[in-house]
Symmetry: C2
Subunit: 417 residues, 2 copies
C-alpha cells in the first residue's frame, strides 16, 4: 500500500533515534504512555515509520527553548535529517488530514530543540481528489499572449488608499507602458475605501479599452481574499468584467479557502504568501516552502510567490531560487507545474541574475516601488525592466547597456546597480 513520506530537519539533546520514534508515535498510533489496544498488529498497520535518519553536525546551544532534557551530557545538540512515512489508510485523499499529520502536533514535542518540515511527497492517491491548477504556466502565457520571455508586472502602489478611479488611472498608465501583469497589493482586498466591485469595474474599463486599441490583454490579479461567499462573488465580478485573474492571500484564508476558491474559479489563481515569514524565517522551526507550495499546487493555485533576489526581507537568494525551481518541477505522478512569481524589493537591477540562476524564462517578475518610484515616472520604470531583460537575454552587462538606455540608467541610479 502507498505510504506518504515527509522529510524533516531535527535537533535534539537526546538520542536522535529515540526522539524520532517518539515523533512517529505521537503522529500516528501512540501517545506519551503505552495504552491498551496499542497491539503489535495495530502498530504494524497504522504506525508511522522511520524511513531514514541521517546525522548532521552538532551545535553547542539549542535553537529553541523548552526542550527536555535541556542539555545532553556533552552539552551538544545533534542535528539530523529525518524521513517518516505513514500508510495511506491513516490519511485518505485529504489535504487537511495530511497537513494535520505532517505539520500537526510535532513542532513542540519536547525532545526537540529544533524541528522543521522540509518537504512532503503528495501521491496521486491524494492529488487526484483535487482539481489541480487549471492554467499554470502555459494557460497564463496564453491569456497574456507572451510565449518567449519572462512575464513582467507590477503591484499597485500605494498599496492602500487609492480610490477605484485613481487605481484605474494608474493601471491605464501601466498598460500603456507595456506591462504584462498588474496586481493588487496583498493588503488591498474588498475594503470600505476601495470596494472590489467598484475597483474591478473601473480598472477593467481601462484594461479592456487598452486591449481594444492594441490587441494586448493585460492580466490584472484582483485580490478577492475574504470570506468564502465574498471570494466567490469577487471572482464572478472579475469574470463578468472580462478580467483574467484573481489573487488570494493563501495563509489568511487557509487550505479550505484556497481549495474552495479553486473549485469555483474559471480564472487563474495568483497565490500570495503574505505572512510566510512566520513559517520559514527560523532555520529550525516551521515549514520550508518546497513542502508548503505542494499543498497549494494540489489545491489548485496557478501562480506562487517566491520572494525575489536581493529582496527587502530576510530570505537568502539560494532559498528564493530553490522555491522558484520547485514550482517548475512536476510533482511525480501529479504534475501541477505552476508559475513562480518574484516579488519584494525588485527593480531592473535583479533581472539578469534571476535569468542566470533560473535557466528558464518561465517566471513572472513583479516590481512595485521598483517601477512606480522610477525618477522619470512609472512608464520609464517599465521601460527600464524591459531594457534590463534585453541586456540579460543578450548577455550584456547592465552598466554597459545603461550607457545607451536612459530609463535603465535612471533605474540603476535610483535602486542601485
Amino acid at each position: 500500500m502507498t505510504r506518504i513520506l515527509a522529510h524533516y530537519l531535527i535537533e535534539t539533546a537526546g538520542d536522535p533515534r529515540q526522539a524520532a520514534e517518539l515523533m512517529a508515535g505521537e503522529q500516528s498510533a501512540g501517545t506519551f504512555v503505552k495504552v491498551p489496544g496499542e497491539t503489535p498488529e495495530l502498530l504494524e498497520a497504522h504506525g508511522a515509520r522511520i524511513e531514514a535518519l541521517t546525522l548532521l553536525d552538532t551545535v553547542d546551544a539549542p535553537s529553541l527553548p523548552g526542550a527536555k532534557p535541556p542539555k545532553s551530557p556533552d552539552g551538544q545538540y545533534q542535528r539530523a535529517y529525518l524521513t517518516l512515512s505513514w500508510p495511506f489508510a491513516n490519511i485518505g485523499a485529504s489535504l487537511t488530514t495530511l497537513w494535520s499529520t505532517v505539520a500537526g502536533n510535532l513542532f513542540e514535542l519536547n525532545p526537540f530543540s529544533g524541528l522543521k518540515l522540509l518537504d512532503v511527497e503528495i501521491p496521486p492517491e491524494i492529488a487526484d481528489a483535487y482539481p489541480l491548477p487549471a492554467f499554470g504556466v502555459e494557460g497564463t502565457r496564453r491569456l497574456i499572449g507572451v510565449t518567449e520571455r519572462p512575464l513582467f508586472g507590477t503591484i499597485i502602489k500605494p498599496s492602500v488608499g487609492l480610490t477605484p478611479e485613481q487605481t484605474a488611472d494608474l493601471v491605464q498608465t501601466l498598460c500603456e507602458a507595456g506591462l504584462d501583469f498588474v496586481k493588487d497589493d496583498e493588503l488591498q482586498t474588498n475594503s470600505p475605501h476601495s470596494p472590489l466591485a467598484a475597483r474591478v469595474a473601473a480598472v477593467m474599463r481601462a484594461v479592456n479599452a487598452h486591449a481594444d486599441r492594441t490587441g494586448k490583454q493585460v492580466m490584472v490579479a484582483f485580490n478577492v481574499t475574504g470570506d468564502l461567499d465574498e471570494m466567490r462573488r469577487g471572482h464572478d465580478i472579475v469574470l463578468a468584467h472580462g478580467g483574467t485573474c484573481i489573487m488570494v492571500n493563501m495563509l489568511a484564508v487557509g487550505l479550505v479557502g484556497v481549495t474552495e476558491l479553486r473549485r469555483h474559479s474559471q480564472l487563474p489563481i495568483h497565490g500570495h504568501r503574505a505572512g510566510w515569514g512566520m513559517f520559514a524565517r527560523h532555520p529550525l522551526l516551521g515549514i520550508e516552502y518546497p513542502a508548503y507550495q505542494k499543498f497549494m499546487r494540489v489545491a489548485g493555485v496557478d501562480h506562487l510567490h517566491v520572494n525575489g533576489l536581493q529582496n527587502k526581507f530576510c530570505e537568502t537568494d539560494a532559498s528564493v531560487i530553490a522555491s522558484a525551481r520547485e514550482c517548475l518541477t512536476p510533482m511525480p505522478g501529479v504534475g501541477a507545474v505552476v508559475l513562480p512569481v518574484f516579488s519584494s524589493g525588485q527593480s531592473a537591477r535583479q533581472i539578469p541574475d534571476t535569468y542566470r540562476t533560473m535557466h528558464s524564462t518561465d517566471w513572472l517578475y513583479l516590481a512595485g516601488g521598483g517601477i512606480m518610484a522610477h525618477p522619470q515616472g512609472p512608464a520609464a520604470g517599465v521601460r527600464a525592466l524591459q531594457q534590463s531583460w534585453e541586456a540579460a537575454r543578450e548577455g550584456i552587462a547592465l552598466a554597459d547597456y545603461a550607457r545607451t538606455h536612459t530609463e535603465l540608467a535612471g533605474a540603476l541610479e535610483r535602486f542601485g546597480a
Copy 2:
C-alpha cells in the same frame, strides 16, 4: 473613525522607532521606496500609526538570523513593545483582511531580528459580521447537564488504527465510567480505516443507549476536519445520529474553513490547535495565543485547546493559564466567551493545580493516555480524575486523598504525583 490595534514584541539592531515606522508603512500605504500618489492626505487617512513604543531590555545576540543591519554599533539588540493601529477603512468587516494586515508580510521585514504578534483588538465593527460562538461555556454545560464543576473528558487512544466498532466499544466503557466528554484524536478524521459515517453510527449507538439507560448524554466531539463539503456532510451525519459536538483542526482548515463550518453548524465546535507549536514556540517569532484565539472566537469556535499544566510539549504553565483565562475573558463590545480545554499529557495529578490557578470551574479537562493507561483500566482512570477533583474542591492534598482512594493512588503511581 474606529482604529484597530495590534500589539507586538519586536527586536532590532537599529533604531526601534525607525523600524516601527517601516513596519507601519509596509503594512499600510508605504513600500521600500517613496512612490508618486503617496500624498500626505493619503498617508493621514490610510497609514498605520505607532500608538505606543516601550523599550525593554537589550540582548547581545539576535533572536533570528537575516536582519539588516546585522549588528548595532554597540553589539546590542533592543527589544520593545510596539502597538500599531489601522483605520477601519483599510480593512473592513473581514477577518481575512485583518489577518493579512496584522499578521502579513511583517515577520521577515529585515530591520527585525525578532517580531511576534502578542494581541489584537477585534472591534464590534468586524465581529458583528460573524455569527460568533453559538454555545460557548453555558451552551456546552446545558447539553452535557453539568453546571457546578469542571467538565472531564478523554481522547480516543490509540489515536488511529481502531475500527469504528472498536472505537464504539471503548466509548461505551468510557460512558459507563462517568465521563462528560469524549473526542477523536486530531489525527483521526474521515480516513479509509475509520470512515466518519461508520464511526459516528457505531459510537452514537453506544452513546444514545447509555443516555437512554442513565439520562446522561455524553458529548462526543467527532473530528470532521476535511474539505468543506466533507465537513458539512460530517456535521450533518453527527446531527442526524443525535450527536452534540463536532471538532475541527483549526490550523489545517484555516480561517475560511472554520468560518464556513460555523455558518453551517447547529452543534458546538471543538477547536483543536494541532500544529500550534510552529506559531508560538519561538519567543520572538510568530503569534501568541491571545491574538490567535480571538480570530477563532469571532469565527465561531465554542471550545479552544490551550495545552495543559506540566504538559508533554514545551509551553510554560504561565502561558497555558494565560491562554485559558483569555478564553473566559469577554472581548470588549463582542463577548464571545468560550470554553478552555486542557489537554496534552494530563492525568489526575494536574487537576488541583489547574483549579487553583484558574479560580474558576469553567474548563474542560482532557486526559487521553492519562485515563487509558491507568493500571486498573480506563474506568479506574476516570474514577481517579473524579477523585482528584473531589480532593481539589475540598482542598485536600492529593497524596492524602489517595490513601483512601485506590484509583487515585494508582494514577499517581503511574503518572507521577
